[in-house]
Amino acid sequence: MDFLAPFIEVLTPDNMKFLLEGFWVTLKVAAISIVLSFIIGGLIGILRYAKIPVVSQLLAVVVETIRNLPLLLIIFFTYFALPEVGIDMEIITAAIVALTIFESAMLSEIIRSGLNSIHKGQIEAGRSSGLNYIQTLRYIVMPQALRRMVPPLVSQFISLLKDTSLAVVIALPDLLHNAQILYAQNGSNVIPIFIIVALMYFIVNYALSLIAKRLELKQA
Protein backbone atom coordinates (compact mmCIF):
# COMPACT_ATOMS: atom_id res chain seq x y z
CA MET A 1 0.00 0.00 0.00
CA ASP A 2 1.21 3.44 -0.95
CA PHE A 3 -0.03 4.92 2.25
CA LEU A 4 2.35 2.82 4.34
CA ALA A 5 5.37 3.43 2.19
CA PRO A 6 6.57 6.63 3.89
CA PHE A 7 6.23 4.96 7.29
CA ILE A 8 8.28 1.98 6.22
CA GLU A 9 10.89 4.31 4.88
CA VAL A 10 11.10 6.26 8.14
CA LEU A 11 10.84 3.31 10.48
CA THR A 12 14.41 2.21 10.10
CA PRO A 13 15.90 0.63 13.23
CA ASP A 14 18.27 3.56 13.56
CA ASN A 15 15.51 6.16 13.39
CA MET A 16 13.30 4.27 15.80
CA LYS A 17 16.15 3.91 18.22
CA PHE A 18 16.80 7.63 17.97
CA LEU A 19 13.15 8.49 18.62
CA LEU A 20 12.90 6.07 21.52
CA GLU A 21 16.03 7.56 23.05
CA GLY A 22 14.28 10.90 22.88
CA PHE A 23 11.16 9.44 24.35
CA TRP A 24 13.19 7.92 27.14
CA VAL A 25 14.53 11.39 28.00
CA THR A 26 10.98 12.74 27.95
CA LEU A 27 9.76 10.00 30.29
CA LYS A 28 12.75 10.33 32.58
CA VAL A 29 12.46 14.11 32.90
CA ALA A 30 8.69 13.85 33.39
CA ALA A 31 8.94 11.05 35.97
CA ILE A 32 11.60 12.77 38.05
CA SER A 33 9.72 16.08 37.88
CA ILE A 34 6.46 14.38 38.86
CA VAL A 35 8.01 12.75 41.92
CA LEU A 36 9.82 15.91 43.01
CA SER A 37 6.90 18.23 42.42
CA PHE A 38 4.50 15.86 44.15
CA ILE A 39 6.68 15.96 47.25
CA ILE A 40 7.31 19.71 47.14
CA GLY A 41 3.77 20.56 45.99
CA GLY A 42 2.36 18.28 48.67
CA LEU A 43 4.38 20.00 51.33
CA ILE A 44 3.39 23.46 50.11
CA GLY A 45 -0.26 22.42 49.82
CA ILE A 46 -0.32 21.08 53.36
CA LEU A 47 1.49 24.09 54.82
CA ARG A 48 -0.94 26.45 53.10
CA TYR A 49 -3.91 24.35 54.20
CA ALA A 50 -2.70 24.41 57.80
CA LYS A 51 -2.76 28.25 57.69
CA ILE A 52 0.52 28.65 59.52
CA PRO A 53 0.93 32.41 60.02
CA VAL A 54 3.49 34.10 57.71
CA VAL A 55 4.61 30.79 56.15
CA SER A 56 1.23 30.21 54.51
CA GLN A 57 0.98 33.77 53.24
CA LEU A 58 4.51 33.72 51.87
CA LEU A 59 3.87 30.46 50.07
CA ALA A 60 0.65 31.88 48.67
CA VAL A 61 2.57 34.74 47.06
CA VAL A 62 5.21 32.40 45.62
CA VAL A 63 2.65 29.91 44.29
CA GLU A 64 0.46 32.58 42.73
CA THR A 65 3.47 34.20 41.06
CA ILE A 66 4.69 30.95 39.55
CA ARG A 67 1.23 29.87 38.44
CA ASN A 68 0.83 33.06 36.52
CA LEU A 69 4.09 32.80 34.59
CA PRO A 70 4.40 30.89 31.33
CA LEU A 71 6.31 27.65 31.81
CA LEU A 72 8.49 28.62 28.88
CA LEU A 73 9.68 31.66 30.78
CA ILE A 74 10.65 29.52 33.75
CA ILE A 75 12.56 27.15 31.48
CA PHE A 76 14.47 30.02 29.89
CA PHE A 77 15.09 31.47 33.32
CA THR A 78 16.63 28.33 34.84
CA TYR A 79 18.84 27.67 31.83
CA PHE A 80 19.88 31.15 30.74
CA ALA A 81 19.41 33.45 33.74
CA LEU A 82 20.50 31.31 36.68
CA PRO A 83 24.05 30.81 35.30
CA GLU A 84 24.41 34.60 35.54
CA VAL A 85 24.19 34.25 39.31
CA GLY A 86 26.52 31.28 39.33
CA ILE A 87 23.98 28.45 39.15
CA ASP A 88 25.00 26.48 36.13
CA MET A 89 23.07 23.36 35.20
CA GLU A 90 23.15 20.74 32.53
CA ILE A 91 20.26 20.90 30.10
CA ILE A 92 18.45 17.94 31.59
CA THR A 93 18.85 19.26 35.14
CA ALA A 94 17.65 22.68 34.09
CA ALA A 95 14.60 21.11 32.45
CA ILE A 96 13.80 19.10 35.57
CA VAL A 97 14.28 22.12 37.84
CA ALA A 98 12.06 24.32 35.69
CA LEU A 99 9.31 21.74 35.40
CA THR A 100 9.50 20.98 39.12
CA ILE A 101 9.18 24.65 40.06
CA PHE A 102 6.15 25.10 37.83
CA GLU A 103 4.43 21.81 38.61
CA SER A 104 5.00 22.11 42.37
CA ALA A 105 2.97 25.30 42.27
CA MET A 106 0.22 23.66 40.20
CA LEU A 107 0.11 20.49 42.31
CA SER A 108 0.13 22.43 45.58
CA GLU A 109 -3.12 24.08 44.50
CA ILE A 110 -4.71 20.73 43.68
CA ILE A 111 -3.60 19.32 47.01
CA ARG A 112 -4.67 22.37 48.98
CA SER A 113 -8.14 22.45 47.47
CA GLY A 114 -8.45 18.68 47.90
CA LEU A 115 -7.71 19.07 51.61
CA ASN A 116 -10.10 22.02 51.83
CA SER A 117 -12.87 19.95 50.30
CA ILE A 118 -13.03 17.70 53.36
CA HIS A 119 -15.84 18.80 55.66
CA LYS A 120 -14.81 20.55 58.85
CA GLY A 121 -17.03 18.14 60.80
CA GLN A 122 -14.58 15.34 59.95
CA ILE A 123 -11.81 17.28 61.63
CA GLU A 124 -13.98 18.10 64.63
CA ALA A 125 -14.92 14.45 65.02
CA GLY A 126 -11.25 13.49 64.99
CA ARG A 127 -10.09 16.25 67.29
CA SER A 128 -12.88 15.69 69.79
CA SER A 129 -11.85 12.03 70.08
CA GLY A 130 -8.43 13.19 71.29
CA LEU A 131 -6.44 12.89 68.06
CA ASN A 132 -4.01 15.76 67.62
CA TYR A 133 -3.94 17.98 64.53
CA ILE A 134 -1.29 15.96 62.70
CA GLN A 135 -3.01 12.64 63.44
CA THR A 136 -6.31 14.07 62.25
CA LEU A 137 -4.70 15.19 59.00
CA ARG A 138 -2.94 11.90 58.51
CA TYR A 139 -5.70 9.43 59.33
CA ILE A 140 -8.85 11.36 58.50
CA VAL A 141 -8.34 14.29 56.14
CA MET A 142 -5.55 13.11 53.84
CA PRO A 143 -6.87 9.67 52.91
CA GLN A 144 -10.22 11.18 51.96
CA ALA A 145 -8.67 14.13 50.15
CA LEU A 146 -6.24 11.94 48.22
CA ARG A 147 -9.08 9.95 46.70
CA ARG A 148 -10.73 13.11 45.49
CA MET A 149 -7.44 14.41 44.15
CA VAL A 150 -6.65 11.47 41.89
CA PRO A 151 -8.37 12.76 38.75
CA PRO A 152 -6.94 16.31 38.85
CA LEU A 153 -3.51 14.99 39.87
CA VAL A 154 -3.36 12.57 36.96
CA SER A 155 -4.49 15.19 34.48
CA GLN A 156 -1.76 17.46 35.82
CA PHE A 157 0.79 14.64 35.42
CA ILE A 158 -0.37 14.22 31.83
CA SER A 159 0.09 17.88 31.09
CA LEU A 160 3.51 17.73 32.68
CA LEU A 161 4.50 14.92 30.34
CA LYS A 162 3.31 16.99 27.41
CA ASP A 163 4.92 20.16 28.71
CA THR A 164 8.28 18.39 28.79
CA SER A 165 8.38 19.09 25.05
CA LEU A 166 8.70 22.82 25.77
CA ALA A 167 12.25 22.10 26.87
CA VAL A 168 13.25 21.79 23.19
CA VAL A 169 13.93 25.50 23.49
CA ILE A 170 16.97 24.70 25.61
CA ALA A 171 17.79 21.76 23.32
CA LEU A 172 16.75 19.03 25.74
CA PRO A 173 17.23 15.88 23.61
CA ASP A 174 13.67 14.68 24.20
CA LEU A 175 11.21 13.02 21.84
CA LEU A 176 10.16 16.18 20.03
CA HIS A 177 13.75 17.39 19.76
CA ASN A 178 14.93 14.14 18.18
CA ALA A 179 11.95 14.13 15.86
CA GLN A 180 12.92 17.58 14.63
CA ILE A 181 16.43 16.38 13.86
CA LEU A 182 15.07 13.46 11.85
CA TYR A 183 12.74 15.43 9.64
CA ALA A 184 15.32 18.15 9.24
CA GLN A 185 17.44 15.53 7.48
CA ASN A 186 14.63 14.64 5.11
CA GLY A 187 11.68 16.98 4.90
CA SER A 188 9.41 14.45 3.23
CA ASN A 189 9.42 12.41 6.44
CA VAL A 190 7.79 15.09 8.48
CA ILE A 191 4.22 13.71 8.49
CA PRO A 192 5.01 10.08 9.32
CA ILE A 193 7.41 11.23 12.04
CA PHE A 194 4.83 13.48 13.59
CA ILE A 195 2.33 10.64 13.55
CA ILE A 196 4.76 8.29 15.26
CA VAL A 197 5.65 10.92 17.86
CA ALA A 198 1.99 11.65 18.48
CA LEU A 199 1.33 7.94 18.98
CA MET A 200 4.08 7.67 21.58
CA TYR A 201 2.73 10.58 23.62
CA PHE A 202 -0.80 9.34 23.20
CA ILE A 203 -0.14 5.77 24.35
CA VAL A 204 1.55 6.81 27.57
CA ASN A 205 -0.91 9.57 28.41
CA TYR A 206 -3.91 7.45 27.57
CA ALA A 207 -2.56 4.67 29.76
CA LEU A 208 -2.22 7.18 32.58
CA SER A 209 -5.80 8.32 32.21
CA LEU A 210 -7.01 4.73 32.15
CA ILE A 211 -5.19 4.07 35.40
CA ALA A 212 -6.83 7.17 36.83
CA LYS A 213 -10.25 5.91 35.77
CA ARG A 214 -9.55 2.58 37.43
CA LEU A 215 -8.60 4.32 40.66
CA GLU A 216 -11.75 6.42 40.49
CA LEU A 217 -13.96 3.40 39.97
CA LYS A 218 -12.32 1.51 42.77
CA GLN A 219 -13.13 4.19 45.31
CA ALA A 220 -16.68 4.77 44.09
Binding site: G121, E124, A125, R127, S128, S129, G130, Q135, I140, P143
Partner: protein, 242 residues
Protein backbone atom coordinates in the same frame (compact mmCIF):
# COMPACT_ATOMS: atom_id res chain seq x y z
CA UNK B 1 -17.45 17.93 86.79
CA UNK B 2 -18.28 20.79 84.40
CA UNK B 3 -18.56 24.33 85.65
CA UNK B 4 -19.08 27.53 83.74
CA UNK B 5 -18.33 30.63 85.76
CA UNK B 6 -19.24 33.98 84.18
CA UNK B 7 -18.37 32.68 80.74
CA UNK B 8 -18.72 34.99 77.75
CA UNK B 9 -18.03 34.24 74.13
CA UNK B 10 -17.89 36.59 71.18
CA UNK B 11 -17.64 36.10 67.46
CA UNK B 12 -16.16 39.47 66.60
CA UNK B 13 -18.68 41.97 67.93
CA UNK B 14 -21.43 39.41 68.24
CA UNK B 15 -21.90 37.92 71.70
CA UNK B 16 -22.96 34.28 71.44
CA UNK B 17 -22.71 33.39 75.12
CA UNK B 18 -23.64 35.90 77.81
CA UNK B 19 -22.53 35.45 81.39
CA UNK B 20 -23.01 31.70 81.52
CA UNK B 21 -23.04 30.17 85.00
CA UNK B 22 -23.74 26.47 84.99
CA UNK B 23 -22.58 23.52 87.04
CA UNK B 24 -23.03 19.94 85.95
CA UNK B 25 -22.23 17.21 88.42
CA UNK B 26 -20.95 13.73 87.85
CA UNK B 27 -23.69 11.41 86.66
CA UNK B 28 -26.06 14.21 85.81
CA UNK B 29 -28.00 14.36 82.55
CA UNK B 30 -28.61 17.92 81.42
CA UNK B 31 -30.76 18.74 78.43
CA UNK B 32 -30.18 22.08 76.74
CA UNK B 33 -33.02 23.57 74.72
CA UNK B 34 -33.76 26.91 73.13
CA UNK B 35 -34.50 28.58 69.81
CA UNK B 36 -32.20 28.30 66.82
CA UNK B 37 -29.18 30.53 67.19
CA UNK B 38 -29.52 30.82 70.95
CA UNK B 39 -26.01 29.41 71.51
CA UNK B 40 -26.74 25.79 72.47
CA UNK B 41 -24.16 24.27 70.17
CA UNK B 42 -21.62 26.89 71.13
CA UNK B 43 -22.14 26.16 74.82
CA UNK B 44 -21.62 22.45 74.18
CA UNK B 45 -18.60 22.97 71.96
CA UNK B 46 -16.86 25.13 74.54
CA UNK B 47 -16.83 22.17 76.91
CA UNK B 48 -14.40 20.21 74.72
CA UNK B 49 -12.72 23.32 73.37
CA UNK B 50 -13.97 23.07 69.82
CA UNK B 51 -14.80 26.71 70.53
CA UNK B 52 -12.71 29.05 72.68
CA UNK B 53 -14.37 31.01 75.42
CA UNK B 54 -13.61 34.73 75.37
CA UNK B 55 -13.61 35.24 79.13
CA UNK B 56 -14.72 33.73 82.40
CA UNK B 57 -13.72 30.32 83.71
CA UNK B 58 -14.70 26.93 82.42
CA UNK B 59 -13.52 23.91 84.36
CA UNK B 60 -13.97 20.37 83.11
CA UNK B 61 -12.76 17.43 85.17
CA UNK B 62 -10.86 19.84 87.37
CA UNK B 63 -8.96 21.33 84.43
CA UNK B 64 -9.37 24.86 83.14
CA UNK B 65 -10.27 24.50 79.47
CA UNK B 66 -8.99 27.95 78.49
CA UNK B 67 -5.69 27.52 80.31
CA UNK B 68 -2.76 27.30 77.90
CA UNK B 69 -1.13 24.71 80.18
CA UNK B 70 -4.08 22.33 79.89
CA UNK B 71 -3.41 19.43 77.55
CA UNK B 72 -6.50 19.71 75.39
CA UNK B 73 -6.02 16.36 73.68
CA UNK B 74 -5.86 14.67 77.05
CA UNK B 75 -8.97 16.50 78.22
CA UNK B 76 -10.82 15.46 75.06
CA UNK B 77 -10.12 11.76 75.57
CA UNK B 78 -12.44 12.00 78.51
CA UNK B 79 -15.25 13.69 76.61
CA UNK B 80 -17.16 11.91 73.88
CA UNK B 81 -18.98 14.00 71.32
CA UNK B 82 -21.87 13.08 69.05
CA UNK B 83 -22.85 15.43 66.23
CA UNK B 84 -26.10 16.06 64.42
CA UNK B 85 -24.59 14.83 61.15
CA UNK B 86 -22.65 11.91 62.66
CA UNK B 87 -19.37 12.69 60.90
CA UNK B 88 -18.32 9.09 60.63
CA UNK B 89 -15.12 8.65 58.62
CA UNK B 90 -16.43 7.57 55.21
CA UNK B 91 -13.19 5.90 54.14
CA UNK B 92 -13.13 3.59 57.14
CA UNK B 93 -15.33 0.67 58.08
CA UNK B 94 -17.55 0.85 61.14
CA UNK B 95 -14.99 -1.09 63.13
CA UNK B 96 -12.11 1.11 61.93
CA UNK B 97 -14.11 4.22 62.79
CA UNK B 98 -14.42 3.04 66.35
CA UNK B 99 -10.88 1.71 66.67
CA UNK B 100 -9.05 4.79 65.38
CA UNK B 101 -8.86 6.85 68.56
CA UNK B 102 -8.17 3.90 70.92
CA UNK B 103 -5.33 2.82 68.62
CA UNK B 104 -3.78 6.22 67.97
CA UNK B 105 -4.62 8.15 71.11
CA UNK B 106 -4.55 5.47 73.78
CA UNK B 107 -2.04 3.25 71.99
CA UNK B 108 -4.13 0.13 72.35
CA UNK B 109 -3.11 -2.98 70.45
CA UNK B 110 -5.12 -4.01 67.40
CA UNK B 111 -6.60 -6.93 69.31
CA UNK B 112 -7.50 -4.94 72.39
CA UNK B 113 -9.05 -2.13 70.35
CA UNK B 114 -11.03 -4.57 68.26
CA UNK B 115 -12.47 -6.41 71.25
CA UNK B 116 -13.47 -3.15 72.87
CA UNK B 117 -14.95 -1.83 69.62
CA UNK B 118 -17.01 -5.01 69.22
CA UNK B 119 -18.21 -4.70 72.80
CA UNK B 120 -19.53 -1.19 72.19
CA UNK B 121 -20.97 -2.05 68.79
CA UNK B 122 -22.89 -4.79 70.52
CA UNK B 123 -24.01 -2.33 73.13
CA UNK B 124 -25.50 -0.01 70.51
CA UNK B 125 -27.01 -3.01 68.78
CA UNK B 126 -25.22 -3.19 65.43
CA UNK B 127 -22.37 -5.65 65.80
CA UNK B 128 -23.49 -7.22 62.53
CA UNK B 129 -22.43 -4.05 60.69
CA UNK B 130 -18.83 -4.08 61.91
CA UNK B 131 -17.34 -4.44 58.44
CA UNK B 132 -19.78 -2.17 56.62
CA UNK B 133 -18.85 1.32 55.46
CA UNK B 134 -20.84 4.24 56.88
CA UNK B 135 -22.47 4.90 53.50
CA UNK B 136 -24.08 1.45 53.70
CA UNK B 137 -25.88 2.26 56.97
CA UNK B 138 -29.13 4.05 57.72
CA UNK B 139 -28.97 7.35 59.57
CA UNK B 140 -30.02 5.74 62.83
CA UNK B 141 -27.33 3.10 62.48
CA UNK B 142 -24.71 5.71 61.65
CA UNK B 143 -25.58 7.70 64.72
CA UNK B 144 -25.36 4.61 66.91
CA UNK B 145 -21.90 3.92 65.47
CA UNK B 146 -20.97 7.52 66.30
CA UNK B 147 -22.10 6.93 69.88
CA UNK B 148 -20.05 3.73 70.09
CA UNK B 149 -17.07 5.66 68.68
CA UNK B 150 -17.41 8.09 71.57
CA UNK B 151 -17.98 5.45 74.23
CA UNK B 152 -15.01 3.33 73.25
CA UNK B 153 -12.69 5.93 74.80
CA UNK B 154 -14.48 5.29 78.12
CA UNK B 155 -15.15 8.98 78.61
CA UNK B 156 -16.55 10.44 81.79
CA UNK B 157 -18.67 12.92 79.86
CA UNK B 158 -20.70 12.56 76.68
CA UNK B 159 -21.86 15.58 74.67
CA UNK B 160 -24.70 15.27 72.18
CA UNK B 161 -25.57 18.07 69.75
CA UNK B 162 -29.03 17.42 68.32
CA UNK B 163 -28.23 13.74 67.78
CA UNK B 164 -31.64 12.92 66.30
CA UNK B 165 -32.43 16.08 64.31
CA UNK B 166 -31.05 14.73 61.05
CA UNK B 167 -32.84 11.38 61.34
CA UNK B 168 -36.02 10.13 59.75
CA UNK B 169 -38.73 9.89 62.42
CA UNK B 170 -38.74 6.11 62.49
CA UNK B 171 -35.06 6.03 63.44
CA UNK B 172 -35.16 8.51 66.28
CA UNK B 173 -36.32 5.92 68.78
CA UNK B 174 -33.41 3.54 68.32
CA UNK B 175 -30.89 6.32 68.98
CA UNK B 176 -32.77 7.71 71.97
CA UNK B 177 -32.98 4.20 73.44
CA UNK B 178 -29.20 3.90 73.37
CA UNK B 179 -28.89 7.31 75.00
CA UNK B 180 -31.44 6.49 77.67
CA UNK B 181 -29.60 3.30 78.55
CA UNK B 182 -26.41 5.31 78.84
CA UNK B 183 -28.06 7.88 81.08
CA UNK B 184 -29.38 5.16 83.36
CA UNK B 185 -25.89 3.70 83.68
CA UNK B 186 -24.80 6.96 85.24
CA UNK B 187 -22.98 8.65 82.36
CA UNK B 188 -22.60 12.39 82.71
CA UNK B 189 -24.40 13.77 79.67
CA UNK B 190 -25.04 17.16 78.16
CA UNK B 191 -27.63 16.84 75.42
CA UNK B 192 -28.93 19.49 73.07
CA UNK B 193 -32.28 18.11 71.96
CA UNK B 194 -35.91 19.02 71.64
CA UNK B 195 -37.04 15.44 72.32
CA UNK B 196 -39.33 15.99 75.25
CA UNK B 197 -39.94 12.31 75.93
CA UNK B 198 -36.24 11.73 76.35
CA UNK B 199 -35.86 14.79 78.53
CA UNK B 200 -38.75 13.84 80.80
CA UNK B 201 -37.55 10.29 81.18
CA UNK B 202 -33.85 10.74 81.90
CA UNK B 203 -32.90 14.39 82.31
CA UNK B 204 -32.08 15.67 85.77
CA UNK B 205 -32.30 19.23 84.58
CA UNK B 206 -33.41 21.32 81.63
CA UNK B 207 -31.39 24.36 80.69
CA UNK B 208 -33.30 26.84 78.57
CA UNK B 209 -31.23 29.24 76.48
CA UNK B 210 -32.23 32.29 74.54
CA UNK B 211 -30.02 34.85 72.80
CA UNK B 212 -26.87 33.50 74.42
CA UNK B 213 -28.21 33.50 77.95
CA UNK B 214 -29.38 30.75 80.25
CA UNK B 215 -32.87 31.99 81.10
CA UNK B 216 -34.12 29.07 83.12
CA UNK B 217 -32.88 25.92 84.81
CA UNK B 218 -35.43 23.47 86.17
CA UNK B 219 -36.24 19.80 86.59
CA UNK B 220 -38.09 18.49 83.51
CA UNK B 221 -41.51 18.02 85.07
CA UNK B 222 -41.50 21.55 86.38
CA UNK B 223 -40.07 23.05 83.20
CA UNK B 224 -42.49 21.43 80.80
CA UNK B 225 -45.59 21.84 83.01
CA UNK B 226 -44.96 25.28 84.23
CA UNK B 227 -42.04 27.25 82.82
CA UNK B 228 -41.25 30.36 84.80
CA UNK B 229 -39.98 32.42 81.90
CA UNK B 230 -42.32 33.95 79.37
CA UNK B 231 -39.87 33.20 76.55
CA UNK B 232 -39.60 29.57 77.60
CA UNK B 233 -43.38 29.34 77.58
CA UNK B 234 -43.53 30.82 74.07
CA UNK B 235 -40.78 28.50 72.87
CA UNK B 236 -42.51 25.42 74.30
CA UNK B 237 -45.83 26.30 72.75
CA UNK B 238 -44.08 26.64 69.41
CA UNK B 239 -42.34 23.25 69.53
CA UNK B 240 -45.44 21.54 70.88
CA UNK B 241 -47.80 22.94 68.29
CA UNK B 242 -45.82 22.30 65.17
Amino acid sequence: MISFDKVNKFYGDFQVLKDINLTINKGEVVVVIGPSGSGKSTLLRCINHLEKITDGTLNVNGLSVADKKTDINKLRRNIGMVFQHFYLYPHKTVLENIMLAPRKVLGQSEKEAKELAMYYLDKVGISDKADAFPSQLSGGQQQRVAIARGLVMKPEIMLFDEPTSALDPEMIGEVLDVMKALAKEGMTMVVVTHEMGFAKEVADRIVFMDEGQILEEAVPAEFYENPREERARMFLSRILNH
